[in-house]
């Protein structure tokens, strides 16, 4: 039946349309009116006059807001489920180190280190694992933030969100996920004990140190320097006849805890350095304050 035929057949009563427009009809009534309205231009015109345009606009906006929502990835949904605000979750979801492929690579690296420990089975079988684990968060942060790494780095600098906050958020997330994976992997080491957690403080220390260094040089270079220093320290302190390292003794662990605290303080004091590509931070802070 064409629209014209429908229009000739019958028209909705004015009172019915008024009740419909004020949401006073029951479900069956609403459906009947809506079915008729889709095929009858005259009644649509009449109904339109009865509905408050502001209400219609609001309903339309609500409908669009409910339907036109961007899909969110697994990591983002998980973060929101864990209570992270949706805007923060979006910032974190853009971190490459939260992608499945990255997490898989980290897990595989740890699995190989654990496997090597089982093959070795000696008193220092876990040494390889302890040396590799602290490098993983560094690698994650290396691909999380900075010029040439973050595609929106430049746009981000011109935006009011503090770059420091973005960097910290991402670094914390990367550190969190790699720590969780490393902790799970260390449970699978052949000899369990406090020694199996020897990677944790170096992890924190190196991550904080690389962030502190990033206030002076490009983030990527800062991470390279820190990772290089760790590799050298491991190579120097591991004595071949009896492979063990002072890095994982109590003294070594205290040193890394101290490094983490000192580096965190440096990051806090020099956080303004992350706010521009170059320049703004070179104004001596104290001089600027005095000028004001």
């Amino acid at each position: 039946m064409s629209e014209a035929d429908a229009a000739d057949a019958w028209h909705a009563d004015g009172a019915v349309l008024a009740a419909y427009s004020e949401s006073r009809l029951d479900a069956a009534g609403r459906w009947s009116v809506e079915a008729h309205l889709t095929s009858c231009a005259a009644c649509r015109l009449q109904a339109r006059a009865l509905v408050d345009p502001a209400r219609l606009r609001r309903l339309r906006e609500e409908l669009i807001a409910a339907v036109d929502v961007p899909r969110t990835g697994l990591a983002e949904r998980l973060l929101v489920r864990l209570g992270v605000a949706d805007h923060t979750a979006r910032l974190l979801a853009a971190t490459p180190a939260l992608r499945g492929s990255w997490l898989l690579a980290v897990a595989a690296t740890l699995a190989f280190a654990v496997l090597a420990a089982w093959v070795d089975r000696g008193p220092d079988a876990a040494l390889g694992f302890l040396c590799v684990a602290p490098l993983l968060p560094l690698a994650g942060i290396a691909v999380a933030y900075g010029p040439g790494i973050d595609p929106t780095y430049e746009i981000g600098l011109a935006a009011p969100l503090r770059s420091f906050r973005l960097l910290l958020l991402r670094a914390a997330t990367v550190l969190g996920t790699s720590t969780l994976l490393a902790a799970a992997a260390s449970l699978a080491l052949p000899r369990l004990g406090w020694g199996a957690a020897g990677w944790l403080l170096p992890s924190l220390g190196l991550t904080a140190a690389s962030l502190a260094l990033a206030t002076t040089v490009e983030p990527l270079r800062a991470i390279g320097i820190t990772a290089g220093a760790w590799v050298v320290a491991v190579a120097v302190t591991v004595a071949p006849p009896e492979p063990s390292s002072v890095l994982f003794t109590v003294a070594g662990q205290v040193a890394f805890a101290t490094l983490a605290l000192l580096a965190a303080a440096v990051v806090l004091v020099r956080r303004g350095r992350f706010e521009a590509d170059r320049g703004f931070d070179t104004t001596p802070r104290f001089a600027a304050r005095r000028l004001r």
Binding site: E61, I64, A65, D68, V69, P70, A85, D86, H87, R90, L91, A94, D150, P151, T152, Y153, E154, I155, G156, L157, A158, A159, P160, L161, R162, L166, G272, E275, A276, D277, R278, G279, F280, T282, T283, A288, R292
Partner: protein
């Protein structure tokens, strides 16, 4: 009629990269409306725009934009909240859709309330004519569409100052036309500074024009004033005039020459492009002679 109050004041901006002076004592004022920034490659246009967008600070000199001094951290953040910046080569998270990308930038701009933010994202995408493809992944969009996505993010929050670095690069003629229409509308009541290689863009939509060359500001005025620089310096001849600074064969088979015309030359009405070329050509000749 009183002159409109400047919204941006820059004084003696100097930026050095190694031994290159990208900006060499550049001073200017901007008023509401569209200002075109012309200059050849390596003139310092991008450096200047990055300074205005607070992405990079000058080694020396000062900027006061919308009454705010970006040297002070709190004022810099206020300014960032009121400016839109489209970099020359905007990067995208390739897996993001157009909507997700603009939504991501909206979060960087601290639009936190989700529904209002999504509404704003839809608004700017509609504004640049991308409403229909907002759900498409950016890697599936054409180059022209990507530039419009980049423009859309700059329009978030209805900024008072728009800094656009070569926004028309890579657009086809129809997109360019739409873009000009959009930017000229945006220029009403807002300060828009856009860099371009295309003198036609400036003619079509800018009320003011600046010419930057080798880090120095060579001209600041209206497009008509830039064209008038070449008054009496453009002539037509059958053959290319060897004495001309620049000359090219036109569609009529005649040659259009710019420089010092010989006696009795058939002078032509200058265009903005003539003024621009004369300005640059004259400098290069002067430098060669020095």
């Amino acid at each position: 009629m009183t002159a409109p109050a400047p919204t941006v004041r820059a004084r003696d901006l100097t930026t050095t990269f190694g031994r290159t002076r990208a900006l060499d004592g550049v001073s200017f004022e901007l008023v509401a409306g569209v200002t075109g920034l012309l200059g050849p490659n390596g003139a310092g246009k991008t450096t200047l725009l990055r300074v205005l967008a607070t992405v990079s600070a000058p080694d020396a000199g000062s900027v006061l934009a919308l009454g705010l001094d970006p040297r002070h951290s709190d004022q810099r953040l206020d300014l960032r909240g009121r400016l839109g910046y489209m970099p020359q080569e905007p990067g995208f998270h390739a897996r993001f859709t157009a909507f997700e990308f603009v939504d991501y930038v909206a979060i960087l701009k601290e639009l936190h309330q989700r529904r209002a933010r999504h509404q704003e994202v839809r608004r700017v995408l509609e504004l640049v004519g991308l409403g229909a493809v907002r759900g498409k992944q950016i890697k599936a969009l054409s180059g022209g569409m990507r530039r419009r996505v980049a423009l859309a993010q700059a329009l978030l929050g209805d900024p008072d100052l728009l800094v656009l670095d070569e926004p028309t690069a890579g657009l086809d003629p129809e997109q360019r036309l739409r873009f000009r229409d959009l930017v000229s509308r945006l220029g009403e009541g807002r300060t828009v500074l856009l860099s371009t290689h295309q003198t036609e863009d400036v003619v079509a939509l800018a009320q003011h024009v600046m010419v930057l060359h080798l880090g120095r500001l060579r001209f600041a005025g209206t497009p008509i004033e830039l064209a008038e620089l070449a008054q009496g310096h453009v002539w037509q001849s059958q053959e290319r005039d060897p004495g001309a600074l620049a000359a090219w064969r036109t569609g009529t088979g005649q040659h259009r020459n710019i420089g010092s015309p010989p006696a009795g030359a058939e002078l032509l009405e200058p265009t903005l492009e003539d003024g621009y070329l004369l300005l640059l050509g004259g400098d290069q000749v002067g430098e060669a002679a020095a």
